[in-house]
Symmetry: D2
Subunit: 359 residues, 4 copies
């Protein structure tokens, strides 16, 4: 496992942040599907560091190169190999901290796991690893789109600042240049990021993701419940350490009579629920209502102020992190969240095609 | 996938709540390991409905029958088949609601998924499915115990009642008859359950689980981060819809300078962290500190009061649930949470044995 | 892996020959499929030891017990747990050889692998393990039958006696009581088995299996070529150590101009080939022609005459095998060969349903 | 599956013969292992078309480019991405046959499978796909070498010409420039290839592979028997349609008393067998004796003489294949056979490290 996501629609991923290239192999794109390759690049661009203050100053062109599996934008049914060259590596930025276990980084755990310390920075623990996810997720989105399934995410909270606690924003509320549906909250968030950047500190927050158009019946009953696998996907994103579906956390202190979602039949004869405490999933399987996921990001650990730690051989030391790092990962994380959601939904959607006997 | 958990230590599970038997196959128990089979039964007994008011009145003996893979308590290295007969099925309890989509149950989603409605109650969506998990988890616990790894869980919250927000309770605080470290909170919880039961209502809450003794280096860097897979495991438990590691939710509104865990070397030369906001996991890999998981349970959906819903063919109806159901799933869920934790940790522990080259 | 066959249609298997029960879990039977459960028992009966001289005198009722996943013969879409009790175990038969490494048995390799020696005879290496395969294979056959795919096998050779080297026997040639299409050859084979039985010796041979009605396009291009996976399936049957498709062995000494299969279009507009040296598979993918497999069985190793060997601690010894053993495994192996073929074809058939984009 | 080989040591492969690049991802190389990268290139060179008459005139530099997972020749434990650019594509060579189903090629089966026909020649069905196998196999070989395991292959037969039917050639018999242990037979084979090339025809044959130093205990008892998985690996090589272990085919017409391998203890106290009809594998598990595999290659289907076939829409036609093709695939297939053997053995070797309980 480890570097593979999915069972029918699959991404195999490779690449270290300061190595030669990032990349992967996508399996499961149906043969004959016409893929808009430029849209893959657009998703990469959404993830890219911008000139805004909130992100790293490592600017990578992040140009996607397709190596196989696609001919004249038609998927051949064969595996789609792809890569993105690393062009702005500066391993020297890591020299001063090379022997130091940076707090809440993966330095110590990688050392323990692999018994060595690569010179190439964070290795697989760098968020640069998520490039491959965005590419594969953008492919999945295009297939889902054909089946009327859309994936939309926004920043719900950064530090102490949060949007209204609602899930059903009208689509008109989302504009390409804003990251959340309430533009004034987003402006405050940007100010907070700027201030925090000057202080050499970092911020966390939450991202909400809503998936609409998923037909009822997608998901598996036991270990691979739809929300369990979506949850794993979200928790696998760097700095994410909690995940919740709809208002599940608030529900823990309520009565069942307050949290059950009553069914009704709508004007078109479609079965729906009045409320959506279930977040679109019951018994691990989609019920046709929007799927609502909230993902919790801890502040990133690369703060600029002096910190206490130990060296590889356990000696106490103080140090300050150099190099180029984001202040707040959330603006760049939106396409990553959507990628994990899209890949997971498509994988289960495919599996469902085999579940009922067709004579 | 779906009915299988794990990649090296594996459980394959089968059985419907109102079918003939529940059971499974465990693969990966190392040959030559001496297994205390009676301890497996004890874990099943922890999960059993008790005479307390908070649980269903369906009393099943839940006697474990081992079919293969063990001889004189020694694991042979072959798959361990096991079953537990269903003895107290009462499918007739479901007759009155057979044609009704019970709110927040899996009735509708199963119908959509499989295109049929089994007579045997909730099928795989019943919590009775977790019997197999408890058996396999109890095996995993015994192996982990040999390596100094322990898994402990308690009820942190039921409805509005919660224990103190701390993780490092002294072991003496846990008594077999109590479900949480603060005995007076537990007494209040029991009263609340009793009252709620009389009102025909149900309760949710949270369970905390702490895993100690895990060496640094366990877990995988990208998609199968240790907390991502533990998270999937927890989210796969019936009625769980959110999961968090340590204080990850609170961390989202703090600065990085407040949430980084500074390393130090202890008197025995072991590298530790002063705080544990990381919940024992950094970059998806264990750092040797206790692993801290909080699992959020929604109130169970089987309330006794009258509810509005629709029939299978979409007609509006009102009904009240009969049958035998728990008021609050948390007391019986402790061994299930521990089972998912134990299986997952053992699986990753095994994988780690292969990660470093040994000349 | 190891105890699991298939990726979408799956069998997980358990059970030692002299343990409590054999059994397994089948996943992937499509929900709503009406399964003839009595036909599963009939396939088990085909595999059973008969009163003929050629088989063991261990007579097991081999009664199939379904534990889950089926209600009123309708598959629910959930995993189908099943078992077959072991009733005629006689571990005492193995006492005299318990400390001896029987030549060409798995005694030594199991000891090396697991570091222990179970008292229960051959453990998983006994051909009794194939019971689970026959059950799952019989399910697969019923699904395939709905799609017009049939699996037929016969004994092609026993010892030096062989049928004509042709693949396209008319269906009328197969009678339930005979094991091969040439009844006189079968009579000679039976005589040979009887003679060999009296001499305390054993026999090998080959089984041919032909699968018709497979549409073109089933299989995968690289590692999981259809014949590669069918080959693994056949080689996993006890005592099988070679496998060939159509006349592949003879083709190695011919020219390409002699072994190419020319295409033509038949009267119904269907593309076929004049010859079938490809055995129905080109580039790892079915071409619509019959799939032709020959499976090579070594003589079973349980001969009654005195043999030289060593004990577990390496001391030279002589001994003679007691217990109940077949003289020639082929008559009972027909349903096993068919089971592996049917499971494999169904698995790939399912996978193919997802390969082309459907707008 | 399909494009992945292995479960712990894994290769994921991508690339079409006439696309941009071939490549793959290797997972499971143990961290800290010092890899001789130049030796990987040497294995690729062994597979390369030479100036000899027997091979295609498409000359590719086949230069290996490592993209990740290795730093200063030390494996980091992360996935090793790699690629080989396709530089000498000539899709125009396929224009004249573009609309024709070439006999015994995969044209028809790919069309049926994917519903489309790529312009890029044979796509994944080209033997160029095996480049990735050779790279990964060469890595596996280096790890095996550290554990004293060696993989050696030779051409046993081409067309009607064959070496002596023995397995235990002295190592001195293998010279780098010859492909089989009997130099005079190899000379005759080369003459036969030359003559056949002039006639526009093609040749098949067999390759033998012997793996020595494998400790007893490697392999799995049921579906993933060591020879079953080795068999799948061999059958997945283009044009291979049969596989046999040791003299398994000849054994089918013998008595058990002739084919059992008697155990003895050698001067060093090691348990061995006098004969090796088992080919080093008993009950699916290695017994410490050399593992003996024979792989049967059909003549390749690209003959130059005129052939009859049909077009994509089923119309009869005659045509002659142009383009650059091998006359006999066996000389270039040796490193491919070894690669599949090495990857498979290493995968099972790793799995075995987890099988016995270590207190």
């Amino acid at each position: 496992m480890s570097n593979t996501w999915g069972s029918l629609f699959k991404l195999h991923s490779f690449g270290e942040s300061h190595g030669v290239a990032m990349g992967g192999i996508v399996e499961g794109m149906p043969a004959g599907f016409k893929l808009d390759v430029s849209a893959l690049q657009q998703e990469l661009n959404r993830r890219k560091a911008s000139i805004n203050t909130y992100s790293t100053t490592r600017f990578e062109p992040d140009e996607l190169i397709i190596l196989s599996g696609i001919e004249h934008e038609i998927c051949l049914g064969s595996p789609i190999g792809f890569l993105i060259w690393n062009k702005a590596q500066k391993p020297q930025d890591y020299k001063s901290t090379h022997d130091i276990l940076r707090p809440s980084h993966a330095d110590y755990t990688y050392l323990a796991k692999y018994g060595l310390h690569a010179q190439s920075g964070g290795g697989r623990s760098s968020a640069r690893e998520t490039l491959s996810r965005v590419v594969a997720g953008a492919m999945a989105k295009q297939v889902l789109c054909h089946y009327g399934i859309t994936v939309q995410s926004w920043i719900q909270q950064i530090g102490p600042l949060a949007c209204k606690d609602i899930w059903d924003w009208p689509a008109t509320q989302f504009k390409s240049e804003s990251m959340c549906p309430e533009i004034d909250v987003w402006n405050h968030m940007q100010n907070l990021i700027e201030t925090t950047q000057k202080q050499g500190n970092t911020l966390g927050g939450t991202i909400r993701c809503i998936i609409t158009g998923v037909p009822a019946g997608i998901g598996e009953p036991v270990f691979d419940k739809l929300h369990a696998k979506l949850g794993q996907g979200m928790l696998s994103i760097p700095t994410v350490k909690a995940v919740a579906f709809a208002d599940a956390i608030a529900c823990t202190s309520k009565f069942g009579s307050e949290t059950n979602d009553a069914f009704y039949t709508d004007a078109h004869g479609k079965i729906k629920t009045h409320t959506n405490h279930s977040g679109g999933i019951q018994g691990g399987i989609s019920n046709g209502m929007p799927i609502c996921i909230e993902t919790f990001f801890k502040p990133i650990s690369s703060i600029r102020s002096e910190q206490h730690s130990v060296t590889h051989d356990g000696k106490a030391t103080t140090f300050a992190i150099e190099g180029r790092h984001d202040v707040c990962v959330l603006p760049r994380a939106l396409p990553i969240v959507e990628a994990m959601a899209a890949m997971t939904i498509l994988d289960f959607w495919m599996l469902q095609q085999l579940k009922q006997f067709k004579a």
